[in-house]
């Protein structure tokens, strides 16, 4: 299992039955592959559909049915489509139970940066600012480090995406819960020690007495 799959599998454990969930572009999109059996989760794509399904077989795609990255998707029975104003009314209005987003940095206050690196990379925020502001739970799914540097930092050096404290950070090394008191280490990735996580993390961590291993669900 590679790091991305592990992160996606762990994030999928946060899904709950009969909830409305938005998955960001990139790694978070993988989460849809690992929905625990028996759960009915409706995935929203901010370009205007709720209840979308897997990419149809070659030749059966509809050019009018894509995800927020422009990739082809299908529609589950009972899907609903709508315009961008309604899509963000759902997001901003608190109707979204959860969003899983990628991150560039999360800091000790639980703030997220994920939309620009000044002077270098300016993709734009797309729907991320609304998602972080409006979703009931915000889960960040990302690598623990980039180019050898911890992405979990004492204080954001990149522009924040929102004021709000995110709810959970899932990386290839750990699961960390931002709390009012700081970053709480909740779980270790399989085979990773608490000491290794602390060493790889630039921000201070609160370490409980017991830190269990990440649950990753059953296999496909």
């Amino acid at each position: 299992m590679d790091a991305k799959e592990m992160i996606a599998r762990r994030a999928a454990q946060e899904l709950r039955d009969r909830t409305l969930v938005n998955l960001g572009i990139g790694l978070p999109t993988l989460v849809a592959r690992f929905v625990p059996p028996g759960l009915h989760v409706a995935f929203q794509s901010e370009n205007g559909i709720l209840g979308f399904g897997a990419r149809p077989p070659e030749g059966m795609e509809d050019p009018n049915l894509t995800d927020a990255g422009g990739g082809f998707i299908g529609a589950e029975p009972g899907a609903a489509s709508f315009d961008s104003a309604m899509s963000f009314a759902l997001i901003r209005g608190g109707h979204l139970d959860m969003t899983v987003l990628g991150g560039l940095q999360v800091d000790a206050a639980g703030r997220l940066a994920n939309w620009m690196v000044p002077g270098q990379l300016v993709p734009g925020m797309g729907g991320a600012m609304d998602l972080v502001t409006g979703a009931r739970r915000v889960i960040i799914a990302m690598q623990h480090a980039a180019r050898g540097e911890s992405k979990i930092v004492p204080r954001l050096s990149l522009p924040p995406t929102a004021e709000r404290r995110v709810d959970l950070v899932i990386t290839d090394l750990a699961v960390i819960e931002p709390t009012p008191d700081g970053l709480l280490l909740r779980e270790c990735a399989p085979g990773i020690s608490v000491a290794e996580i602390v060493a790889a993390t630039a921000a201070p961590l609160i370490i409980p007495d017991v830190v269990p291993d990440m649950p990753l669900g059953g296999g496909r």
């Binding site: 104003a85 729907g127 409006g134």
Partner: protein
Amino acid sequence: MRKSISAAEAAAMIPDGARLMIAGFVAVGSPERIIDALVARSARGLTVIANDTARPGLGIGKLIEAGCVARAIVSHIGTNPVTQRKMLAGEVEVELVPQGTLAERVRAGGAGLGGVLTPTGLGTLVAEGKQVIEVEGRPYLLEAPLRADFALLHAQEADHEFNLTYRLTATNFNPIMALAADCVIAEAMETVPVGVIPPDAVRTPGLLVDHLLERMH
């Protein structure tokens, strides 16, 4: 019954320097025929209000590559490296707006509202220079309405009174942009007789649409 126009006629109506709303989401639901005609007539200095600048060779990406666009008001340019390059080179000015805020600003412009009060963007670069208004003890960013000279739409069906429907995720910004411009030009996949689209299926009433492109042959 109203008369439709060619894509070239549509492009000729749109002067250099015009402010355009262009529907679409990574080019899905974008009016490709009008865009092609704007590229063909070498439009210059356009301001484009849209979700994104699509990809090179696709939708608004074609306008960017052809040098038609001076300014883009969009929620992201992550899918188009050409836009990123032109922005860093100072050839295209880019104003980034959170997607939900963009949708509401367009909607406000079309609905006669004075602006949008949103929590999105508070405490970020987006809030710089903007007013924060407190309502019932909570802060909101005041974002101004957006309007344009032209809105360019892509519909699924149009009837000959220019009533429009949209399809699935090709809907996106089309219905809200239809209210927010002085002149609305649409292209459609199909043109059907008046009365064929049931009233509940019409998403944009034809009276909002100034021009419809001739059907493709």
